[in-house]
């Protein structure tokens, strides 16, 4: 059992569509403002109203804020899932429930403390409108949590003030219901509980932001002017955010006109087509989508690859295959994106681990797309994209200038005797391009059909191969330009652990936990594909490595096996792919189980027997 101050996890079980999200978000934000490292994970259904939804808050003074599977407190507000929810509370933990009605005796546990608050009763007595009674129950339990967890009520008051500054009546209702829950808890329970919050100062240089908002902001800063998309969970809020930021920053003060255009396409085939058309014309253009959208875009991604047209594709990954589980998280599109489209195609991929890297990688993706004249994918996921994360304040270098790659100006074209699209490659195998509307001497025919280096149609083996081979070399050359992996070595480590994207926090926490037990491992988080020399070096300098990722088929492991010289048997998989974010426990359990006897001599502290679960 943890000592408790600023180190615990709570889970809130709700019915979706009842307004719980705002109460839960309020709590998370209040903890953030108390300066304490915190994370909030919304585990929501693909539904508008009536299905189970959970919210998890983990507080950790040392900054370990990956998902916890060990719940000190459960707020059980959903009778449908009550039996399951109560089973998840740790021994000696607490359960807060609505005691307006008696608890089913069969569901009571001896080793859990029950905190009954008559929430429905309190709200029915104090509010007349039926909808308000339901909504305010959430704020009332938030009030009770403030009491038992020692949440700073002044901060909660500030947050409500900001939120409802223009809606006085709502502000009053919220205040009243918060107070109802708070007072009841204070009068009936020993507040605060052994685990609770105390103000810290860990967040003064931090912000609270979700990855979709951050990536949209990154696209604005990158200078993207054309966005095309088809609505799809979990990427929709990225385009919503792009629109919001464009309305704020891209309305021309002189003309009142929009210095951007957002096209809601008829499908993802069209969305990527629009991006390619805009990229062909020289605009920075992007689309945001999820796995099903990538499946549809495959055809035209091959066109952009072969005709060498820049495009940026944001893939907020969700659980596949097929419709899968649209509101659950996964890293299942790695291989699909790496080799998207028929024939020989390979694409540059970026793997941000947090909203901060989403913002940072967006301009990078446009630079790479234009420098290498090719589609570039940013692979985030639902957990990064839709959950609020505490990350360092975003920084922008005002000296940044977009890398537009090799684009010939009218004057440069004028000097050329005859423009030949796929000749005159630079050291990165990139050939200069011309844009429509500039100079008729630069005109050529862009085509997805077989072409020679002059851009002309061909069906001749040598001519075809010449272009394809250069494309292969160009792809390899891009390895030096994608973000380098993050590597953390520990003296005496006997193996490596490799991961990507949103697994970062959980894996790093797991390696710290293992180190405490004497199991030492080096860490590498790959951030881009193609893999650079440092990835190969890490693989070469370890006898074996675990690859931690969130998909069934070990896609990162496959990609490493295919695209580096690592022997397959050197890589062992730890795969967690049920759809909820990764926890350190998944990783420690997986590694210890795989190490088996080999780990035992290294273990100095007894390791509890644990099952991998989600």
């Amino acid at each position: 059992m943890r000592d408790g101050v600023n180190d615990f996890a709570i889970k809130l079980a709700n019915v979706n569509g009842t307004g719980s999200a705002s109460a839960n978000g309020l709590l998370m934000q209040a903890i953030f403002r108390m300066g304490i490292p915190v994370s909030g994970k919304n585990l929501f259904p693909s539904n508008i109203q009536g299905l189970p939804t959970w919210y998890e808050i983990r507080v950790n003074k040392d900054g370990y804020t990956a998902r916890s599977l060990d719940y000190d407190l459960m707020v059980a507000m959903n009778s449908q899932t009550y039996a399951r929810d109560i089973g998840e509370v740790r021994k000696g933990g607490y359960l807060l429930y609505d005691s307006t009605w008696p608890l089913d005796a069969a569901l009571v546990r001896d080793d859990v403390n029950f905190l009954g608050v008559p929430l429905a009763h309190l709200c029915n007595e104090n509010f007349r409108d039926p909808r308000e009674r339901i909504l305010m129950k959430n704020i009332a339990y938030a009030g009770s949590l403030c009491a038992v967890l020692n949440v700073d009520m002044n901060i909660v008051g500030e947050l409500l003030e900001q939120k409802y500054s223009s809606k006085k009546a709502l502000r009053e209702s919220n205040d009243r219901s918060l107070r109802l829950g708070y007072d009841y808890a204070r009068d009936h329970f020993a507040c605060p509980l052994p685990f609770h919050l105390e103000t810290m100062n860990a967040n003064s240089d931090k912000i609270l932001i979700d990855g979709n908002t951050a990536i949209a902001l990154g696209c604005v800063y990158a200078g993207a002017t054309v966005a095309a998309w088809y609505p799809i969970t979990p990427s929709t809020s990225a385009m919503d955010a792009f629109k919001m930021f464009c309305e704020k920053y891209r309305k021309d003060p002189e003309t009142g006109k929009n210095n951007y255009i957002i096209l809601q396409a008829e499908d993802e085939l069209a969305a990527i087509g629009m991006v390619i058309g805009a990229g062909w014309n020289g605009a920075r253009a992007f689309t945001s989508t999820a796995g099903p959208g990538i499946s549809l875009m495959n055809e035209l991604l091959g066109l952009a690859y072969y005709a060498e047209i820049p495009a940026v594709i944001i893939d907020v990954q969700r659980v596949g295959p097929s419709t899968g589980m649209p509101t659950r998280t996964q890293q299942g599109d790695v291989l699909e994106c790496a080799y998207a489209s028929h024939g020989d195609t390979k694409h540059i991929l970026l793997f941000p681990c947090s909203p901060a890297e989403c913002f940072e990688f967006a301009p990078k993706a446009f630079d790479l797309a234009e420098r290498f004249q090719t589609p570039v994918f940013i692979l985030t996921d639902l957990d990064i994209g839709m959950n609020d994360w505490v990350v360092p304040r975003l920084k922008w270098d005002d000296g940044y200038q977009p890398d537009r790659g090799r684009v010939l100006s009218a004057e440069e074209i004028e000097k050329i005797t005859k423009f030949q699209r796929y000749t005159n490659e630079d050291e990165n195998q990139v050939t200069p391009r011309t844009l429509p509307g500039v100079n008729s001497k630069g005109a050529f025919f862009t085509r997805g059909s077989g072409h020679n280096k002059y851009g002309g149609y061909t069906e001749m083996p040598d001519e075809y191969r010449e272009v394809m081979d250069r494309l292969g070399r160009k792809f390899k050359a891009s390895a030096k330009f994608v973000p380098a992996p993050v590597i953390q070595r520990r003296g005496g480590a006997s193996f490596g652990v490799i991961t990507l994207g949103g697994c970062d926090l959980a894996v790093r926490e797991a390696l710290d936990r293992l180190a405490e037990q004497g199991v030492l491992a080096d860490f590498m988080r790959v951030r881009g594909f193609p893999f650079g020399e440092s990835v190969q070096f890490f693989l070469d300098t370890h006898n074996f490595c675990f690859v931690v990722e969130q998909n069934r088929d070990a896609q990162l492991r496959s990609l490493l096996t295919l695209e580096t010289s690592v022997p397959k048997e050197k890589l062992r998989s730890i795969l967690v792919y049920g759809g909820f974010p990764l926890s350190a426990k998944h990783v420690t359990d997986g590694i210890l189980k795989a190490l088996g006897d080999a780990a035992k001599p290294l273990v100095t502290v007894p390791v509890p027997e644990l099952q991998i679960e989600e």
């Binding site: 957002i262 005109a443 059909s449």
Partner: protein, 351 residues
């Protein structure tokens, strides 16, 4: 698409347009389509149109999908950028291109397979967005490159070269366009350059999506007896609804406006489409009347041709989106990036 460069031998007496260019300067590579293909006549009409309008070649962007029709952008205006994209996907690519740079003249060349089957949805949505472009469907009722399958525009009862009869009802791009709010709809016949050239010129002037369905017989797979898209059938059944003249902005508007059944439609750029001999009860700006008129004649088995419908009052893609008057591609980066101070300020909201 294979192409053969044409020898450039220009006779000194060839007429020059106001840019000092001859009609040969608006040609492209040698066509590799079958001899007698209707598509080549459309190509010739386009060459004439752009030469007569004296359009600077680099201001034209030619886009196409896949199929025989989609090869033709190679055969006109070699000084313009071209994009031979993927089957059925030209409309979204043209939409994105237009979004990025509104100054170019976009000409999309498609076929009945490209536009009425694999890309039907895309075409419809480009119409709904009113993307400013000339959109030509070279319609022959048949898949040529894959050797003679029926397309979605094949009429009920028409016979394939192998003798099979089509049983499924056709998709008529003209009626479809009328039903989903197309703002410029014409039908023509590749064999009638006199009719096609003014229609294409008016389409270039149109502020929005100009849909032109051109019956373009396939001499190899769909020009036999029993076909309803053959040269002979089209000539026998063509019903010229109304003749249109295109008067450029600087041109002199004919004196007898409003007489002898003439109707003038002023285009956004000040040019005028002059409809001659308009039948009673026909108004090319009235969707309901046009629809009724077409249904009546098509019921009689007539292929109605001409510039059938125009609406100049619908905003195009950029007007609907209130996007900048200059091409987005020309906006300097400094105008696009809010900068670090704005970012610092914004982040106060993320606390």
């Amino acid at each position: 698409m294979p192409s053969i460069a044409k020898p450039i031998a220009t006779h000194p007496s060839l007429q020059r347009n106001e840019l000092g260019m001859t009609i040969r300067d608006y040609e492209g590579a040698m066509s590799t389509l079958c001899a007698g293909c209707g598509h080549d006549s459309i190509t010739a009409a386009l060459v004439r149109v752009f030469w007569e309008l004296a359009t600077p070649p680099h201001m034209i962007a030619k886009l196409s999908g896949i199929g025989c029709s989609s090869k033709t952008p190679t055969y006109f205006v070699s000084g313009a950028h071209g994009f031979n994209s993927a089957h059925g996907r030209m409309p979204p690519i043209a939409t994105g291109a237009n979004a990025a740079n509104r100054e170019l003249i976009y000409i999309g060349i498609s076929g009945d397979g490209d536009s009425l089957s694999i890309g039907l949805g895309h075409m419809c949505h480009a119409i709904r967005r009113n993307v400013r472009m000339v959109y030509v469907i070279e319609n022959n009722g048949v898949y040529g490159l894959t050797k003679g399958q029926f397309s979605a525009s094949a009429d009920v009862g028409t016979k394939s070269k192998k003798g099979e009869r089509n049983r499924m009802s056709p998709i008529d791009p003209v009626m479809l366009g009328l039903s989903i709010g197309a703002t410029f709809i014409a039908r023509s016949f590749s064999g009638d350059k006199e009719q096609l050239v003014p229609i294409l010129k008016a389409a270039v002037a149109h502020r929005g999506f100009a849909l032109i369905d051109v019956i373009s017989p396939c001499v190899t797979f769909n020009d036999h007896e029993g076909s309803t898209k053959s040269y002979l059938y089209t000539r026998q059944h063509e019903f010229k609804a109304l003749e249109a003249d295109f008067v450029p902005p600087a041109g002199e508007v004919l004196a007898n406006i409003g007489q002898n059944g003439a109707v003038n439609v002023t285009m956004h750029d000040g040019s005028v489409i002059r409809f001659k001999g308009v039948p009673p009860n026909y108004d090319p700006t009235d969707r309901v009347k046009v629809t009724a008129y077409l249904e009546e004649h098509q019921g009689k088995g007539e292929v109605v041709t001409g510039l059938l419908y125009v609406d100049e009052n619908v905003p195009d893609l950029h007007e609907m989106n209130k996007s900048a008057d200059v091409p987005l591609t020309r906006l300097p980066y400094e105008k696009l990036c809010p900068g670090s101070a704005a970012l610092d300020k914004l982040q106060e909201d993320f606390r």
